[in-house]
């Protein structure tokens, strides 16, 4: 299964095509050229190295709750 995960933009390249993102403490580079006006602090949905859409704070909250519930049920 391939899951798209929400990550946070930490910094942007000068041309705003690439960003350093933070996924649960892990930092990596992502391509953000295909989304509308990426900003530092935005949560984005990442798929195979590309940002495919922006996430609202509510989306992120909901996602975290789902993940939390899953983890709780697994325990």
């Amino acid at each position: 299964m391939c899951l798209a995960v929400p990550v946070k933009i930490v910094s942007l390249s000068k041309d705003r095509y690439t960003a350093v993102v933070d996924a649960g403490g892990v930092r990596r580079e992502a391509n953000v050229a295909m989304i509308e006006e990426p900003q530092v602090g935005d949560y984005i949905l990442l798929h195979a190295g590309f940002a495919i859409q922006k996430w609202s704070i509510d989306d992120v909250k909901e996602y975290n709750e789902i993940i939390q519930r899953r983890e709780d049920s697994i325990e």
Partner: protein, 771 residues
């Protein structure tokens, strides 16, 4: 009142008539003219403004009454326009004089308020006459000139319903106001230094400079300072047009790096020092509307290039208020006059709005206490092949009506999203709002709603039908859906374009519609913009379009033309980054280019578009003309500007697909050739010329194919691309030589400002078919 000729022979046939006059007759000195002519022919009766038009009752001899109408038609006041006079006989009343009576203000308002009128020559003479009581008074006006639309709160047009209501007339002004033989008889904005508005020059703290405000402001301008100047429909930001440093400062402070500024001159002679003016341009510059006219610069002239760095053209206008005349006389040279607004907000109109501009942008402001009731930007036009081409229809033209090809219930046309102007119809006339701008902020949306409601209340139009774009996300669509009207029509963007052009030209049959622009929502959810339709006023069929290409990143591709270059070039090279021309990958970065092609290949946020605007972007970006535009249309603007007008060669193109269904105009060979031309070091002027020629020949070839199948010989052109005079002029000529009748806009811009009118036309045509 004047007595009549006392003696009337009983042998003469007396009669009495009621005449109802319609047209532009309010606020233009029409009733005094009626009065003087009636008195001249010894007629009794009265004249009165009513919401249904101007009523004239005349009693006297039949022959004299005929002479009266003959003279009125031959010799109306300068700015008046008679659309129609209905005359009926009524019983005699045997009055002994002719009177001008109070306005009646009930019922449906069919009269129209004139647009704002530039200061007339008689008032200018008085303005500079030291012996006149209004010497150097910045608010001088008469029945032939002065503010109208921008100061009127409601109709009929009387002083108490304008923003002059706050200025009670002094004795002398009152005498003029009530004297039917005076040039200022019922001139609603009439005023003088004793009783009228007062001009002040203030610094950023709001403190008033001492001394004559015009002289103070002029001295600041001469020193290279930026001054905000309150005009008719809003504030301008002004600086010395000959001072590169001042213009540069204005650009930096207004955060407008490249887009052209307009320049105001004191006389037509001053315009000709700097520009090449055709006779039509001169006529437009001197007309009472006083629009900005885009002219070609002279090779040798002194206005700094920083005024319009992207083009050899210059938008010029003449002074149109007494304040402008005074200011220009004191400064001497031409001054930049650009709308005072901050980041996407509408033009500033009051002292609160100017506060945030004062200090941050302007060093001082010329303010006064005559409120602006309606915001209104300057109008902009040019002439191509001696025909007008509007870029913006606003001050000086609004609220004049635009005719409709038929009658119907009152309809609200909402417009699109850019260069918006709303539209309301009544009977066979359409009333458009002033230019609103791009609905990119709440403030602009608020202006839009107020302007539409303003036209609706001014003309007492109660819309029954709403028409809006099929784009689900447009604010204007939302506005139309929420207007609560029982009948609603969603109109496709490019059909609205073609319908607008058709209706302006009174065409009601089928045409081939060529709609070329940047963006319009297609019912197939792709982005349209290079469209060939067979259309009438109610329906359309898409019979052909430009080949579609992906827009990498959606709207980001509009802001970054380089992305379109990559998209077109990539499509030509099988989406392989290593096959892209290096001069393109170097600009965007090898990794970025490869990643973007990969993303396009996966269909990641890369909607397909047939847009002609994007094709322009791609070609300009491949030539390295403009990689990061600072305003909408900058890349095409620069690309047009470098075009070698003498070059006749073109690239090749291909038309594929089936007639009458889905003809595809494919310019991929042209893109390949442009890349080749860049690689072999050919100049951008040559490439631009070939590009323009290819586009024109491609569009004409499409029309021929569509015509061969359908037999249609009438072609209507619309869309923002036709603001490009090269494309407009050459396509018109080429189609003419190939036996087509070509129709283009005459009164409205070809850009999205005509959409609301087009939407209303389509809605009315569909409504009428249903009956």
């Amino acid at each position: 009142m004047t007595g009549l000729r006392g003696f009337r022979s009983s042998l003469k046939m007396l009669k009495r008539v009621l005449a109802v006059v319609k047209g532009r007759i309010q606020g233009v000195g029409f009733r005094p003219r009626v009065y003087t002519i009636a008195v001249k022919f010894g007629l009794s009766g009265f004249v009165r403004n009513t919401p249904g038009g101007l009523n004239i009752e005349l009693e006297g001899e039949g022959g004299d009454i005929d002479l009266f109408f003959e003279e009125l038609r031959r010799n109306p006041p300068p700015v008046a326009r008679i659309d129609n006079i209905d005359v009926e006989s009524i019983p005699l009343k045997n009055e002994d004089s002719f009177q001008i009576r109070e306005s009646a203000s009930d019922g449906i308002s069919e009269v129209c308020i004139p647009p704002d009128l530039a200061t007339c020559s008689a008032c200018i003479r008085e303005l500079f006459d030291p012996n006149n009581r209004r010497y150097r008074y910045p608010f001088i006006n008469c029945t032939d000139c002065g503010p109208r639309f921008t100061i009127v709160r409601s109709l009929p047009y009387d002083r108490e319903r304008t923003s002059m209501a706050e200025f009670p007339l002094c004795g002398e002004c009152e005498r003029e106001y009530y004297d039917p033989l005076d040039r200022r008889f019922e001139a609603q904005p009439n005023a003088c230094p004793e009783c009228g508005p007062v001009l002040r020059c203030i610094d950023p703290e709001g403190k008033e400079y001492s001394g004559d405000p015009v002289t103070v402001a002029a001295n600041l301008l001469k020193k290279g300072k930026i001054v905000a100047v309150k005009g008719l429909g809003g504030y301008h930001l002004s600086c010395n047009a000959l001072d590169a440093g001042a213009v540069e400062r204005l650009r930096n402070r207004k955060n407008r790096p490249d887009k052209a500024f307009a320049v105001m001159c004191s006389s037509i002679e001053q315009v000709e020092e700097h520009c090449k003016c055709t006779s039509e341009m001169k006529e437009a510059l001197l007309s009472v509307a006083r629009p900005i006219v885009v002219c070609a610069r002279n090779e040798v002239q002194r206005i700094t290039n920083k005024v319009s760095p992207d083009t050899n053209d210059l938008g010029v206008m003449l002074a149109y208020t007494p304040l402008h005349h005074l200011l220009l006389e004191s400064v001497g040279g031409p001054i930049v006059m650009t709308s005072a607004n901050m980041n996407d907000e509408p033009i500033a109109t009051d002292e609160d709005e100017i506060k945030q501009i004062l200090g941050s942008v302007a060093d001082a402001a010329l303010v006064h206490n005559r409120p602006i009731v309606r915001r209104c930007d300057d109008s902009v036009l040019t002439f191509v092949d001696r025909q007008p081409l509007f870029f913006r229809r606003s001050r000086g033209f609004v609220p004049d009506s635009i005719p409709l090809p038929f009658e119907g219930p009152s309809t609200l046309g909402c417009g699109a999203e850019q260069k918006v102007a709303g539209c309301l119809t009544r009977g066979d006339k359409a009333y458009l709002t002033q230019h609103i701008g791009d609905l990119s902020s709440y403030e602009v949306y608020d202006f839009y709603a107020k302007a539409v409601n303003g036209i609706s209340s001014l003309f007492k139009i109660k819309a029954e039908i709403a028409a809006y774009d099929i784009h689900p996300g447009y604010h204007t669509t939302e506005f139309g859906k929420n207007a609560g009207l029982r009948e609603q029509y969603a109109v496709q963007h490019h059909h609205a374009h073609i319908a607008a052009c058709m209706a302006e030209n009174k065409l009601t049959g089928k045409v081939i519609g060529v709609a070329l622009d940047g963006t319009g929502y297609g019912p197939d959810k792709t982005v349209w913009g290079g469209e060939f339709l067979i259309a009438d006023l109610s329906e359309y069929r898409r019979v052909g379009h430009f080949k579609q290409y992906p827009m990498p990143g959606g709207d980001a591709a509009v802001r970054e033309p380089l992305r379109m270059a990559l998209s077109y070039a990539g499509s030509n090279s099988g989406m392989k980054a290593d096959k892209l021309p290096t001069f393109i990958t170097d600009k965007i970065g090898k990794r970025n280019a490869a990643a973007m092609l990969q993303a396009i290949g996966r269909g990641l946020n890369s909607p397909l578009t047939s847009s002609c605007g994007r094709l322009f972007d791609a070609a300009a970006a491949i030539c390295g003309i403009c990689s990061h535009p600072s305003y909408d249309g900058q890349a095409p603007q620069r690309f047009q500007n470098i075009c070698d007008l003498k070059e006749e060669s073109a690239y090749s193109f291909e038309i594929t697909g089936v007639e009458d269904e889905n003809l595809i105009l494919d310019f991929s060979e042209m893109i390949a050739s442009i890349i080749g031309d860049v690689e072999t070091g050919r100049g951008a002027s040559l490439i631009s010329a070939r590009f323009h020629n290819t586009l024109v020949e491609g569009a004409a070839a499409m029309c021929e194919k569509i015509s061969a199948d359908s037999g249609i010989k009438d072609v209507a052109l619309s869309g923002g691309v036709f603001q490009n005079s090269i494309i407009l002029s050459r396509l018109r000529k080429l189609l003419n030589t190939r036996g087509f009748n070509v129709y283009f806009h005459r009164k409205l811009p070809p850009n999205d400002a005509c959409i609301a009118y087009g939407q209303a036309v389509v809605a009315l045509a569909r409504h009428n078919m249903k009956r």
